[in-house]
């Protein structure tokens, strides 16, 4: 037991070390000092309270998207459409925010609620076909991402463009703002929402009858069906919930940070979240840490571009290397087993 864990942890450390060494070589190749680059990255991510807040700000959407992915994964659903749900949720929240004056607080909740509904609604058709006809949800959600992004662009530019503005909606009313946490940073209650969601999801899956049923649907669907769990319905519900959380991620970004919806405002968060969740092996709590890791890398890289000659692409490369080698550290645990019985993502 202990031995397993020890080996797993040492595997992670070796993996990150390997990635950093490869990254250092690449940095040397572009004529920068690796030490300086890594120190700048650290400083950019955790250098002072503003930087830490910035890191947490970057972590927030990745975390919420990651939880969305975890919810789906738990029920055996691969929601690759979080990106699209985030865009629609973001737009929906902005729409409530600028078009419907409401009392403070209620306004924000209404906007978040519509974001949740929009995210869920956007995944509803893929979810329905998945549940009813077993239509592969990976394809349908990937494809619907493209439609979602184009659709929100259409809404923004053709229907709701701020007069005189760039491709963006009018600003939302302050009554709908998600309150900030510090006055020196844009960090807002979205982070808290993310943390509560992650821990809440973990608790629900572990400690409720519903969560038990869903877990079984994900890991052994025929067994769950036999045991009286309504597999199709729960699959539908889980995908819908995943989409709802994805929509919420968009709402949180809109209401907490941007205070309006901009065309193409948050590309890639859905995928970052998915990768964070997969690296965390579908555990919402572990996703907190993987999301934080990604957030720190991103925020650190922003300072890096300013303070060193290394460009953001180098950081992209290093980030990819880290993901690759962390994903590969399973080697340390499982070398030598047969591959035959292994679960592959079957489509």
């Amino acid at each position: 037991m202990m031995n397993d864990r020890l080996r797993a942890v040492s595997g992670q450390i070796i993996a990150v070390a390997v990635a950093l060494i490869m990254g250092a070589i690449i940095i040397l190749m572009v004529g920068e000092s690796p030490v300086r680059v890594f120190m700048t990255l650290l400083r950019g991510a955790f250098g002072d309270q503003a930087k830490i807040a910035g890191t947490l700000l970057q972590t927030t959407p990745i975390l919420i998207c990651g939880v969305a992915a975890c919810v789906g994964l738990r029920g055996g659903m691969f929601n690759v459409g979080i990106e699209g749900q985030l865009f629609l949720g973001g737009f929906a929240a902005a729409w409530v925010g600028f078009a419907f004056p409401l009392p403070a607080g209620i306004h924000m909740l209404a906007a978040l609620a519509l974001a949740v509904v929009a995210g869920a609604a956007w995944v509803a058709i893929p979810a329905y076909f998945r549940a009813r006809y077993n239509t592969n949800e990976v394809v349908s959600t990937i494809l619907s991402n493209y439609v979602a992004v184009l659709l929100t662009s259409y809404f923004t530019i053709f229907l709701f463009k701020r007069p005189g503005g760039w491709s963006e909606t009018p600003p939302i009313l302050p009554t709908a703002y998600l309150p900030g946490i510090f006055d020196f940073s844009r960090l807002n209650w979205g982070l808290v929402i993310g943390l509560v969601l992650a821990i809440g999801a973990a608790l629900v899956f572990r400690y409720t009858s519903w969560g038990y049923g869903v877990t079984m649907v994900g890991s052994a669907p025929k067994f769950a069906e036999y045991g009286g769990v309504n597999v199709k319905w729960q699959g539908f519900v889980v995908l819908l919930l995943s989409g709802a959380v994805g929509g919420l991620a968009g709402g949180v970004e809109t209401l907490g940070v941007h205070h309006r919806f901009m065309e193409g405002f948050a590309p890639g968060f859905g995928f970052d979240g998915l990768i964070a969740a997969l690296l965390a092996n579908g555990s919402p709590v572990a996703t907190i840490f993987t999301a934080l890791f990604f957030g720190a890398l991103r925020n650190g890289s922003l300072l890096l571009e300013v303070d060193t000659g290394a460009s953001r692409e180098i950081i992209t490369v290093i980030q990819a290397l880290i993901i690759l080698s962390v994903s590969a550290q399973a080697l340390v645990r499982r070398r030598g087993d047969s591959q035959a019985g292994e679960r592959r993502w079957k489509f």
Binding site: S153, S167, R186, E253, V257, R260, M262, A266, N299, L302
Partner: protein
Amino acid sequence: QDKVSVAAISGYFAQGFGVSIVNGLNKAKDEFGIDLKLVDTGNRALDYEEQFENLAKAKQYDLIFVMGWELVDSLQKVSKAYPEQRFVFIDGVLDNPNMIYANFAEEQGSFVAGALAGMIEAKGSEFPKIGDGMAIGFVGGRDIPVIRNFLGGYEQGAKYAAPDVKVNSVFAGTFDDPAKGSELAQALYGQGADIVYNVAGPTGEGVMQASAAVDKYSIGVDIDMCGTAPGNVLASMLKRGDIAVYTLIKDEVEGRKVTAGTRTFDLASGGVEVKVCDDIAPTIPADVMAKLDEIKKAILDGKIEIAKAK
């Protein structure tokens, strides 16, 4: 005073207009030995403010050039938090009296390009590559206000020169997909357009190559694109970002401290211009060239009013 230090921040350094800005910055760096820092914003709105902060906090840049409308909000916020930091916003004017604006009249250049296209189209079979119909085309990158401004000028120019010309316009939805640009252009050519103007960054390169593939005419944008398809590129509508940044830096270096206010780069100042490609110029009838000069003059004199999109 020590060395002038300049930063530029944008998500578009890789695309036509951005490339010309980078060219101008590099030219200034070579000539004046200034410190130059380029920061690529990427495309996530969440990052912009932090990036501006990082630059402003460094307190080492005399001028920070900013390009891209999606940066405006973050820029305004940071510029208010760091009022002593001078920001130059390229390609537009905001309601912030603290900043410096380099404003371009792309609709003027596009008007001239449109007029050229209209006149050549009207000449019909005098040109081997012009068909019977009266149609020209436009391929935009994304359907956003700046691009619409180009399109508006182009349409008005074409109609001004040849009232019965039809302008077909399409948008690729992306600046990064030359293959799609090529398909779009081929579709336009296939439907009778003889000249296609592209305002689509790298996507537009596909348009130029398509004009060579079907042997029709195209018009380049932002930078001189005559070389991409020799014999098929009529002209390029140059939007001289390089001149803008170079001029401003030159002022700064030579002690004429750049202060808040708007600088306009239009036909008059040479900030936008239409360059007829050298290999094509000899084949263009004199009356067309004369008319073109007339139109330019009329724009400069304010006799032609060009409506701006937005």
